[in-house]
C-alpha cells in the first residue's frame, strides 16, 4: 500500500468572507464553517476563535486536536467509518494543511484537563502551541449527559477538520512525501537481510472519556488486528478521549504518529518496517489477557524480530503495556516500550504502576508530575474556573493574578507516549 502525502505549509490563519488558501495564508469564512459543523441537537451554541503561536492566549479545557486532511486520489475519504464510508484508506494521495489545527474546547466533565498556552513556559511543553489553532467552543444544551456531550463535540471537531481539509484538495503541495508498505512476503524478499520490525499501537478504550475509534468501531470491542501505517495517516483511528491530557493521543497525533514516521525513515535501510498491530486497553482483566495474547501471537505469526510498543494513558494501561512486552518477549522477539512516568514531583517514586524484568528497553517521554507555574494570559479561550480540580491542578492552583501552578500532566500533549513531544533528555 502506497500513500503520497502532500503537505501544504500554512503561515497564518485569518477570518475572511471566503474560505481559501492564498499565498500560504488560510482564510476562513466563519459563517460558512459554523453552518457546516452546526445543527447538532445537543449543542445550543458554537463559536470559533483563532489562537496563533506567540499570542497571549490560554486554551482550556482542550478535548481534541485535529489536523485538516483530505483524500485527493485513491479509495475512501478522510475519517473512514465516521465521516466517510468504510472503504479501506491509506493508498493514493492525501493532502494535509500543516501548522494549523482544529482544537475543540469545553468542559465535558467537572475535572477535565487540557491546557494549551500559546506563549510563555507552558507553550514550550506542548507541540500544539506551534500551530495556528482554530478553536471550536461548543456549548451543550442544559442537562446534557456526558456521553452525548463528548460524542457531539467529537463529531463537530472532525467535521470542522474535514471542512478545512477540503480546501487542500486543489492546492499544489509544498512537499510530497511517499510512504509504502508492501505485503510482508514481498518486503521480506526485497530486504532479506534487514530485521523485520512491527509497531504495537495501544489505544485507550475503557469507557466514557477513554475511548478510541477504528474505522468507526469502538476499539474496546476489537481484538488486535493489522493495519497498514498509511491507513492511520488517513484518519482510520480517531480519539474520543478526554482525560490524561499529557499522554492521551489526540486525533492529530494518530495522523502524525512519530513512531510510524521514524520507522518509515529507517525502512529499507536499517529495518524492514512491516506494519502496525493495533490493540486496546480495557477494564476487564480477561480482555487484557486476550488482547496481549493476540498481539504476541500476531507478532510471532509475522515472524518479527523486533517490536516497538507505545502506551496511551497511565495506570490501568501500564498493565497492558507490561503484558504486551513480556508476552512478545516470550516469543523470542525483542521489544522497546514507549511510555511516560508518574514518578512524583521529585521524580524519585516508582514510575509505572506495573513492571517486569523483560521490560528492559524503555523510552520515557517525561515525568508528568513535574510542577510548573503558568503565567497569567491576556485572553482565555474556554474557562479556567475548573483549574483547581483538573488533573495536575490542586486546591489553590489558580492564583488571584490568573497564573496557575500545575503538574505538566495538565498540559495537552506534554508527555505523549508516541514521542510527539517537546521534552527531551540530554546526557552530560
Amino acid at each position: 500500500m502506497r500513500l503520497e502525502l502532500g503537505n501544504i505549509f500554512i503561515k497564518d490563519v485569518k477570518f475572511s468572507n471566503t474560505t481559501r488558501v492564498d499565498s500560504g495564508v488560510l482564510y476562513i469564512n466563519k459563517e460558512e464553517i459554523l453552518k457546516e459543523i452546526g445543527g447538532d441537537e445537543h449543542v445550543k451554541n458554537i463559536d470559533i476563535e483563532l489562537a496563533h503561536p506567540g499570542d497571549e492566549i490560554r486554551i482550556t479545557p482542550v478535548k481534541d486536536v485535529i489536523e485538516p486532511r483530505v483524500k485527493v486520489e485513491g479509495p475512501g475519504g478522510i475519517f473512514p467509518g465516521i465521516l466517510s464510508k468504510v472503504d479501506t484508506v491509506g493508498s493514493g494521495r492525501t493532502h494535509a494543511l500543516k501548522n494549523v489545527a482544529i482544537v475543540t474546547a469545553g468542559k465535558i466533565v467537572g475535572f477535565q484537563e487540557g491546557i494549551i498556552d500559546m506563549t510563555g513556559i507552558g507553550a514550550k511543553y506542548t507541540p500544539f502551541s506551534k500551530n495556528h489553532n482554530v478553536v471550536v467552543i461548543a456549548e451543550p444544551v442544559d442537562g446534557l449527559k456526558q456521553y452525548d456531550h463528548e460524542a457531539a463535540v467529537r463529531m463537530i471537531g472532525l467535521k470542522a477538520a474535514a471542512y478545512l481539509g477540503e480546501i487542500a484538495k486543489d492546492i499544489t503541495p509544498d512537499e510530497v512525501k511517499t510512504y509504502e508498505t508492501e505485503p510482508i512476503l514481498d518486503s521480506v524478499k526485497k530486504y532479506p537481510d534487514l530485521p523485520k520490525v512491527g509497531y504495537v499501537y495501544m489505544l485507550q478504550t475503557q469507557g466514557l472519556l477513554h475511548d478510541t475509534y477504528v474505522y468507526g468501531v469502538d476499539a474496546k470491542k476489537i481484538v488486535p488486528t493489522l493495519l497498514y501505517p498509511t491507513e492511520i495517516m488517513d484518519g482510520a483511528i480517531i480519539s474520543g478521549n478526554c482525560v490524561s491530557a499529557c499522554d492521551k493521543n489526540p486525533t492529530y497525533v494518530h495522523l502524525n504518529n512519530g513512531i510510524i514516521e521514524e520507522l518509515y525513515a529507517k525502512h529499507g535501510k536499517e529495518i524492514n518496517f512491516v506494519g502496525v498491530i493495533i490493540t486496546n486497553e480495557n477494564v476487564f482483566l480477561a480482555d487484557k489477557e486476550r488482547s496481549s495474547n493476540w498481539t504476541a501471537k500476531l507478532c510471532r505469526f509475522l515472524g518479527l524480530d523486533g517490536v516497538v510498543i507505545s502506551q496511551e494513558g497511565f495506570g490501568n494501561p501500564d498493565t497492558d503495556l507490561i503484558m504486551n512486552c513480556k508476552k512478545i518477549e516470550r516469543e523470542g522477539i525483542k521489544t522497546v516500550i514507549v511510555t511516560d512516568e508518574f514518578a512524583g514531583r521529585d521524580g524519585a517514586s516508582q514510575s509505572l504502576a506495573d513492571a517486569d524484568e523483560k521490560a528492559d528497553a524503555v523510552v520515557t517521554n517525561g515525568n508528568a508530575n513535574e510542577t510548573i507555574i503558568l503565567p497569567p494570559m491576556k485572553k482565555i479561550i474556554g474557562m479556567t474556573d475548573y483549574v483547581d480540580v483538573i488533573a495536575g491542578g490542586f486546591d489553590g492552583s489558580l492564583r488571584p493574578d490568573g497564573s496557575i501552578e500545575v503538574e505538566i500532566q495538565a498540559i495537552t500533549g506534554a508527555t505523549n507516549e508516541t514521542g510527539y513531544v517537546t521534552l527531551s533528555t540530554k546526557g552530560f
Binding site: 466533565v109 469507557g207 472519556l209 477494564v283 476487564f284 482483566l285 490501568n316 512524583g344 504502576a353 506495573d354
Partner: protein, 123 residues
C-alpha cells in the same frame, strides 16, 4: 458468578439487577483493601484495580469485580491489587483534593461507565 465491590451508590442503583453488588460505605483505599482481603481468602480479581487513566487522587469512587468462586490464592490478583494500593498511596500522598458536588457526580458516572464496560465484557 461474580460480585462488584463498590463505594459508588450509582453502581449499586444501576447494576444491582445485573450482577451482585456489595456496597461499602468507605473510601477508595477501603475498597482496595477490602478487595485485597477477599483475594487472600481465594477470590480472583476480574477487573483492573486502577480506574482508566484517572489518577487515584483524582477520584473518590472505586468499583471492582471479584469472583464468587474461591480457590487457592491467585498471585496475579494479589500482585495487581498490591501494586494498585502502592500507586494509590503514592498519589494520595502528593495531594488530596476537595471536590464540589458536580465533580463528584461526574466521578460517580465515570466509575459507573468504566465498571459497566467490564461487566459487558463478562456477561
Amino acid at each position: 458468578m461474580a460480585t462488584i465491590v463498590t463505594n459508588n451508590l450509582l453502581v449499586l442503583k444501576k447494576m444491582n439487577d445485573k450482577i451482585a453488588v456489595d456496597f461499602k460505605d468507605t473510601d477508595l483505599i477501603g475498597i482496595l483493601t477490602e478487595t485485597r482481603n477477599r483475594i487472600h481468602r481465594g477470590h480472583v480479581l476480574l477487573s483492573h484495580p486502577l480506574s482508566g487513566s484517572i489518577k487515584p487522587n483524582e477520584t473518590v469512587y472505586k468499583s471492582l469485580i471479584i469472583s464468587d468462586d474461591k480457590a487457592e490464592l491467585d498471585l496475579d490478583s494479589l500482585r495487581l491489587i498490591e501494586s494498585a494500593i502502592e500507586t494509590t498511596l503514592k498519589f494520595i500522598g502528593m495531594k488530596e483534593y476537595k471536590w464540589n458536588s458536580r465533580t463528584l457526580e461526574d466521578f460517580q458516572e465515570i466509575d459507573f461507565t468504566l465498571i459497566s464496560s467490564a461487566v459487558e465484557s463478562m456477561i
